[in-house]
Symmetry: C2
Subunit: 410 residues, 2 copies
């Protein structure tokens, strides 16, 4: 399930969305859960799609995640995923579970699918029940289409306090056929008063079985969605769902397929692209931070350290303040549960080397401040212990983060 | 090494300091490391004191910690601890280590002690060398005395951006003799541009051996200093040092001594008191948050969950905004690496129960907002899984935290 990136041929499709791969339609409507914004969305597949999903590691998995797991347990195929924003349907007990099942069944009925072909996702306030009258009326209004406008309606319907829509699309070749992966996501925005839920919905027309898709998704999630952090909190509702229509007409993809790397890379790029968009749109954020850790004992340790650095409030505020404070980076490396040789660490912020072999290097504060004015900041760390490599993404910590999160729910 | 608190007889001494226990003197002077504040301090013991210390878990232990460990390795006794603020002497390589040894030796010479009787601590900027001319001149100015004014000079000399001095003192009886524990600490303030270093210095006139003192300190650190968090970062310089003069004249304390619990509790209260003062003085903080987790499988899991809750940026901003947002508490419990039954959790903020058996409870928003105006906020969580109990302390996350930490070093 590894990939040699050098050989993969993948092209970004700037305007692509979840309806760009063959066989998918989408829609988004305003059902009145939110006072003005679209708040219910659906992606529909023309055929039963191979499907895969990953879920939050929280002990408190919200009701829609349980329903989605129940749907996938039947035959790991999906025709639709139905999503609402404004209400997370989390910590809502038995009633919440009944509501999530009803939401699934209403969607299945609306489009004439068996209920287990429908996945459900929610994001918004915790501890409140879904307003089922509005959900019922909203689902009846859904009329999916395969146009960009429909994809945009879907992208909008899933947002909470996100400031921008998040979508990505990549194209590759498998058996000479064009295979496309498209995605939409929301995240790091927050409905008063709740947690930053991350949702991502990915479509592809690749021909691939559900188990192979599931394994690829899991491995890719570990280097994309699981490597972003806005405030270190994990939501009750986080979920990533992938549907593969198979309509590209390629021979079935497995890791042994000669073009496996092309597909894997297209899926990985789509996930990484969405993950970075989520990190960049962190609450109150003004900058995307990318931390790359080289030379760790293992990739896992590199990923862990990268995430620790990008999650440090002290690093995040320093980046916000354009302060070339490598001491805080050392601080974050210092408490990582990973092998570190304190006598041989390099740290660079952008092109500026600040620590080499653990010795502070002279650098121009002016140059450093100028670099830190960019809206993407790269931090490179080399541990000189092995070949382990990992990246993580996050954002700066600003006054607006506090403002957004300290405001009264009422 | 456990203690039944019910039987321990301990009295707080409001004006007590590190010089209240018999045999200790202190001093603090302005050596010019800081532009105006006192910046070098010393505690001296009239006799070789039994000594114990705990150190940061960071991979990057600063030079003074290495020197202190070398001193204690000789016979686990101390006559003095010398401390400077403004410069952490961390990430300073071989030169830094030489400087820390010189600082130790200068102190030893000033007071006529063997060098291994001196511990060294530093806090301040990372990656810069100690200004040794100033250190040398400063140490020559040190003239310790056993008055409160001297203790206050010491308390001031160790501060960085702390807004208040931190001290605590508790008295108890051992063999009918009065035994006193006193302490001073700094923490969570931050010299531009560095990490929040926590330093604590504890004195007692109890008669106790170094190994027994070390075991007690380690066990108490786990439920006091290790249970506070301001921003989750661990400093390169964190250290707690205890010195016991033995001048109270009690029979040597061991866990089998009939009054062991009195002494243990006096030491524990001193550490907890200092830890809470540090948490409350977190950068930009307006409120102390105490999280108590009941009913976990083990004390360790309870402590872990309590610290996770109190460390959550989302919980911290909600407390700042007086937002009774129990969903964020659930969020923080949800990602804890501990056993949780998601169907049976209680959450209360102060006297107001918000979740019972994982079912949201109706409550008055007005009452909740009124409670959240207090300057100490208590959050109680019951997991209903066992007898595990743990407390952690932290503070709210405010605009001022961002302001303090985002400002340019230059």
């Amino acid at each position: 399930m590894t990939v040699t990136k050098q050989t993969a041929q993948v092209t970004a499709l700037a305007g692509g969305t979840v309806v760009t791969p063959k066989g998918f339609q989408a829609a988004g409507v305003h059902a009145g859960l939110h006072h003005s914004k679209k708040d219910i969305g659906v992606i529909v597949c023309d055929v039963p799609a191979s499907a895969a999903a990953v879920y939050t590691q929280s002990h408190f998995q919200a009701a829609p995640l349980k329903v989605t797991q129940a749907s996938l347990a039947v035959e790991q195929k999906l025709r639709a995923v139905i999503v609402n924003s404004s209400c997370a349907n989390a910590c809502t007990g038995e009633q919440g579970l009944r509501d999530a099942y009803e939401m699934r069944d209403l969607c299945a009925k609306q489009f004439g699918f068996a209920p287990h072909y429908v996945a459900v996702a929610s994001t918004g306030v915790i501890g409140e029940h879904l307003p089922m009258e509005k959900i019922r009326a909203g689902i009846e209004k859904l009329a999916p289409g395969a146009m960009i406008a429909n994809a945009e309606a879907f992208q909008t319907a899933i947002l909470t306090t996100d400031t921008v829509m998040k979508h990505a699309c990549y194209e590759t070749k498998v058996d000479g056929k064009t295979v496309i992966v498209g995605g939409a996501a929301k995240g790091s925005g927050m409905i008063h008063p709740n947690m930053a839920t991350m949702l991502a919905f990915i479509t592809t027309d690749a021909n691939i079985s559900s188990p192979v898709l599931q394994a690829a998704l899991r491995s890719i999630t570990d280097v994309s969605f699981n490597q972003i952090t806005v405030d270190g909190d994990t939501s009750t509702n986080d979920m990533v769902v992938v549907m593969a229509s198979g309509l590209a007409g390629n021979d079935e993809l497995t890791p042994d397929h000669p073009d496996w790397e092309n597909f894997y890379e297209a899926l990985r790029k789509t996930c990484e692209d969405l993950a970075k968009q989520i990190a960049k749109d962190g609450e109150g954020a003004t900058k995307l931070i990318e931390v790359r850790v080289h030379g760790a004992k293992t990739d896992d340790e590199a990923k862990k350290i990268a995430k620790q650095i990008v999650g440090s409030n002290l690093v995040k505020t320093a980046v916000y303040g354009a302060d070339a404070n490598w001491g805080r980076i050392i601080g974050a490396i210092g408490y990582a549960d990973a092998d570190v040789d304190p006598a041989n660490v390099d740290v660079a912020i952008g092109p500026i080397v600040m620590l080499k072999g653990s010795e502070p290097q002279p650098f121009s504060e002016e140059e450093a401040v100028a670099y830190l004015q960019n809206d993407m900041i790269v931090i490179d760390v080399d541990l000189h212990l092995g070949d382990g490599f990992g990246i993580a993404w996050g954002c700066d910590l600003t006054y607006d983060y506090v403002k957004i999160n300290a405001s009264y729910r009422t």
